[in-house]
């Protein structure tokens, strides 16, 4: 399944796709993109890695177990609701922190962004978990799934 061309292409493509996924995540609030789409793009990059170099390499790229990443994503998204709850506002009220970086540049940080990051990781972890598990599964005998 793995060819030299695929491996060489993956070395080039996968990092760019990952970068692109973060870009999509970041700009999602104002332009097409967001955590879900970003997560899917990142997953494609990692899946590509898995096809080219095998599931072990895919797991190395992810560092943590995929299911753990998905769980962490859900947690991060839940934590995005906490600041509002602690401030006595309704659950999930968006709170914004606009950091002044000087020279008129403003870095807006917000709980919706944190939430989107949670979505991003949930998608990556959830889909990658299945891809990795399927790739690692040994081929089945013929009688296992007749028809």
């Amino acid at each position: 399944m793995s060819s030299l061309i695929l491996r060489a292409g993956t070395r080039l493509l996968a990092p760019m796709m990952l970068l692109f996924s973060v870009f999509l995540l970041w700009r999602g609030h104002n332009l097409p993109g967001g955590g879900f789409i970003g997560g899917l793009v990142a997953t494609s990059a990692i899946a590509l890695q898995g096809i080219a170099f095998g599931p072990a390499s895919m797991r190395r790229t992810l560092v943590f177990a995929p299911a753990t990443i998905a769980g962490a994503g859900v947690l991060i998204a839940t934590f995005a609701a906490l600041p509002a709850a602690l401030a006595g506002l309704p659950f999930f009220t968006g709170l914004w922190l606009k950091l002044d970086l000087g020279d008129g540049a403003v870095l807006p940080l917000s709980t919706p962004l944190l939430f989107d990051i949670g979505v991003y990781f949930t998608v990556i972890g959830g889909v990658c978990a299945l891809i990795a598990a399927l790739e690692e599964e040994p081929a089945l005998e013929d009688q296992d799934m007749g028809g």
């Binding site: 967001g34 998905a70 839940t78 807006p108 949930t122 959830g126 028809g147």
Partner: protein, 764 residues
């Protein structure tokens, strides 16, 4: 009061740490908690009659609060729970000394104590229910403590299922009672008795509450879990049977007596069920040879007696119930601990292997003898005093039948007392008795203290009658009562009856020693078909029903699930659509050429997918359908949706490719062809339905309020120009949270399915 309830819970948290740090001294430090609560309650004896409350808001929107109330009845229970609790903690320290799981044991025990305290102090019906369920959970953990034994696991589950089912009934009953009485406070319900009894919900509420109480307090026919609960370590049995758990049902009936009592339905049910339970328990006790099981059956019987006494809702009944409650708690706690000593030191608790222990274990014998005397109601013990009060209640309740039931119970109790106190200790030394020696002081404190109290209160009933029993009886009766407890009564015919019962009981004991074995063999086949077997049958039936309906609904074939899901969607939606008057719009004039092209390509791909003869072709064609849909999203100005669709299609191809290489036979087999016509029909119908649905929607005027609001509010309220994303992460963030939890759960389920298949393959 909140502190009192919380203290055991907090100590449960630190118990394992204490056991690790202090070792055998941990039980002494833990015993300080119930000890302090006991002192706290004793210092408040004066205020029992008046009652004291504390209310902490909990769910103010629903008018549910952590309301606590200390009055005579809850005060008596607090004294028992904390007093016996102190002794049980000390006893457990000796009984389970060196046990590897001692820390865990104390966690469960303290949890149980806290739940029980909360239960008796709760004045809010919801709070009461929560603590009620907590006691069920804690007892499940305690009964199943020796989880390596299958019998212990079965007994724990049985206790949990029976009391848990009753708990559900109780919740419904309490809510109905609260509706009928117009308040969530027990103290309000108690004074609203007339309104409740006249309410249409009275009968259902009563039945449900009784179900909860009967299951908890092991009334016939729900009693089977209680003897099974003997699987718990003995300190737990002592606690469970004397002061906690099983008394919860009795507590609730006594608590609600002023509100519910006095009707024929209430009185008859309690008298009949209590009476059956009382006598059946005693007769079954006679048939046992295991010391703990004998005591367990007498507990069943005592609970029946308590229900029996609460039944008539009379003043005499209230007095008798609280007096017997105290008596029973004292002697039963002592007897269980003494039985535990015998088991611990002689290595068996089977009566057939025990005799002549008196030399080896004189102190245990003394405690057993005094407590058994109290159980049988022998003069000079507390049992004698409470029996006098009970007889007065029986006479008031209508004379002959109640009185004969109680006399018969006395007779049986005397025989059982002989089995418990005489058989193991007197006579020739058995083999086990040669090895036995007296229990350590930590295991003697409990039985000796409780037995001494049985004797002390028996000699000087004034010590408890005014301070403890009178307020408790008043709370049960709902009006102030005095309790007159006398050691010496003037001689009358009922006294003569009692002594006849004593003599007959002693005779029965002597006779029974010779005949018991034969009766046990003879009755065994009958008893093995009792409620305990019924529980097994019910559980097996439930399991069969579950697997039958699982086979029906979960064949494990994806195409069947999909076919079923879409058939239902089509049928239900179509039925709804064609019931109303359906108008369709055909906006043909607005169709662009590119839309027609995309549509044609997508449609063609769908047809190819349906007709494909190889899996690869089918997957490729489906991918084309997906891309076509993504293009349509693009054309209609939904870039977010389109990108998502593209990415999903890509990943689906990756996933399918991974699965496909593992599937046998590249071609779709002939077997798959048969349902294909059906599947095509379902798919076609689904597509048609969606078309009709959309054309119908177009025929209605478009209501732009929502989309206009999002367009307007997106930037000023959420600082985002991408409305789709703003909706996802801000306006409807909770929906999205739910969705990503679904993604997470689906991934876990997929992983589990893959792992399970790999495990099956390994096993092969």
């Amino acid at each position: 009061m909140l502190t009192v309830v919380l203290a055991p819970f907090v100590s449960a948290l630190v118990a394992p740490w204490l056991v690790r740090r202090l070792g055998r001294w941990a039980s002494y430090s833990l015993a300080l908690v119930p000890g302090a609560i006991f002192v706290w309650a004793v210092l408040r004896l004066d205020s029992f009659a008046a009652g004291a409350s504390q209310v902490i808001p909990w769910v103010p929107g629903l008018d549910v609060a952590l309301a606590f109330r200390l009055d005579g009845l809850s005060g008596l229970f607090v004294l028992l729970i904390s007093g016996i609790g102190t002794l049980v903690v000390l006893y457990a320290g000796g009984y389970l000394a060196g046990h590897a799981m001692l820390g865990r044991f104390f966690v469960f025990l303290m949890l149980f104590m806290g739940a029980m305290l909360g239960l008796v102090l709760a004045d809010d019906v919801i709070a009461l229910f929560v603590f009620w369920e907590l006691t069920s959970l804690a007892s499940y953990l305690l009964v199943g403590f020796q989880s390596e034994k299958p019998e212990a696991r079965r007994a724990a589950l049985q206790a949990l299922l029976i009391t848990g089912t009753g708990g559900l009934a109780l919740l419904a009953g309490l809510i109905l009672a609260a509706l009928a009485g117009g308040s969530w406070r027990l103290s309000d319900l108690i004074v609203a008795g007339e309104a409740i009894r006249g309410h249409g919900l009275y009968l259902p509420a009563m039945v449900l509450i009784m179900l909860g109480s009967f299951t908890k307090s092991a009334q016939w026919p729900f009693h089977s879990w209680l003897p099974g609960a003997m699987q718990a370590p003995t300190p737990v049995s002592a606690y469970l049977h004397s002061a906690t758990m099983v008394k919860a049902g009795v507590y609730l009936l006594a608590r609600l007596d002023p509100a519910f009592g006095g009707t024929a339905a209430w009185t008859t049910t309690l008298l009949v069920i209590g009476g059956i339970t009382m006598l059946a328990g005693l007769m079954l006790a006679l048939l046992e040879t295991d010391l703990k099981l004998i005591l367990a059956w007498t507990t069943v019987s005592a609970l029946g007696a308590l229900v029996f006494l609460i039944g008539p809702a009379t003043e005499e009944g209230a007095r008798a119930a609280v007096a017997f409650l105290l008596t029973h708690a004292l002697y039963k706690g002592a007897l269980f601990m003494a039985a535990g000593n015998v088991d611990h030191e002689a290595g068996t608790r089977d009566l057939r292997n025990l005799s002549g222990l008196i030399r080896a274990m004189p102190i245990t014998f003394a405690a057993t003898a005094v407590s058994s005397a109290s159980m049988a109601g022998i003069p000079l013990s507390l049992g004698w005093v409470s029996k006098a009060i009970t007889k007065a209640a029986a006479i008031e309740a209508g004379g002959f039948l109640p009185l004969s039931v109680i006399t018969f119970a006395t007779l049986l109790l005397v025989a059982i007392a002989g089995m418990v106190a005489i058989e193991p200790f007197l006579g020739q030394k058995s083999e086990a008795a040669h090895e036995a020696h007296e229990a350590p002081p930590s295991m003697l404190t409990g039985p000796v203290a409780l037995a001494s109290l049985s004797l002390l209160f028996g000699l000087f009933p004034d010590l408890v009658s005014d301070a403890v029993l009178a307020p408790a009886a008043s709370a049960v009766a709902g009006s102030p009562l005095a309790v007159e407890a006398k050691v010496i009564k003037p001689f009358d015919w009922t006294l003569g009856l009692t002594f006849v019962a004593f003599a007959a009981g002693a005779a029965l004991y002597v006779l029974w020693q010779r005949r018991a074995e034969r009766w046990r063999d003879r009755l065994d086949p009958v008893l093995s078909r009792g409620p305990d077997a019924g529980y097994d049958r019910a559980l097996a039936g439930l399991a069969r029903l579950a697997s039958w309906q699982t086979r029906l609904w979960q064949p494990g074939l994806l195409h069947r699930y999909t076919a079923a899901t879409f058939s239902v969607i089509v049928l239900v939606t179509a039925a709804a659509l064609f019931r109303g008057d359906l108008r369709l719009a055909f906006p043909v004039d607005r169709v662009r050429l590119i839309e027609v092209v995309v549509l044609a390509l997508t449609g063609a791909a769908a047809i190819v997918a349906a007709l494909a003869t190889t899996r690869l072709l089918a997957v490729t064609a489906l991918g084309m359908v997906g891309i076509g849909v993504a293009l349509i999203f693009m054309l209609f100005g939904a870039p977010d949706l389109a990108i998502t669709q593209f990415m999903v299609e890509t990943l689906v191809v990756v996933l399918l490719a991974l699965v496909l290489v593992r599937l046998p036979g590249f071609r779709l087999s002939a077997a798959a062809d048969r349902p294909r016509a059906l599947h095509a029909a379902i798919a076609g119908a689904t597509g048609l339905l969606v078309i009709v649905l959309l054309l119908g929607v177009l025929a209605e005027p478009f209501d732009p309020r929502l989309s206009e609001w999002f367009a307007r509010a997106s930037v000023p309220e959420a600082f985002g120009h991408n409305i789709v994303n703003v909706i996802l992460v801000d306006f409807r963030a909770i929906d999205t949270l739910g969705e990503i939890i679904v993604v997470f759960a689906a991934a876990l389920a997929g992983l589990a399915a893959i792992a399970a298949r790999a495990a099956r393959k390994d096993a092969r």
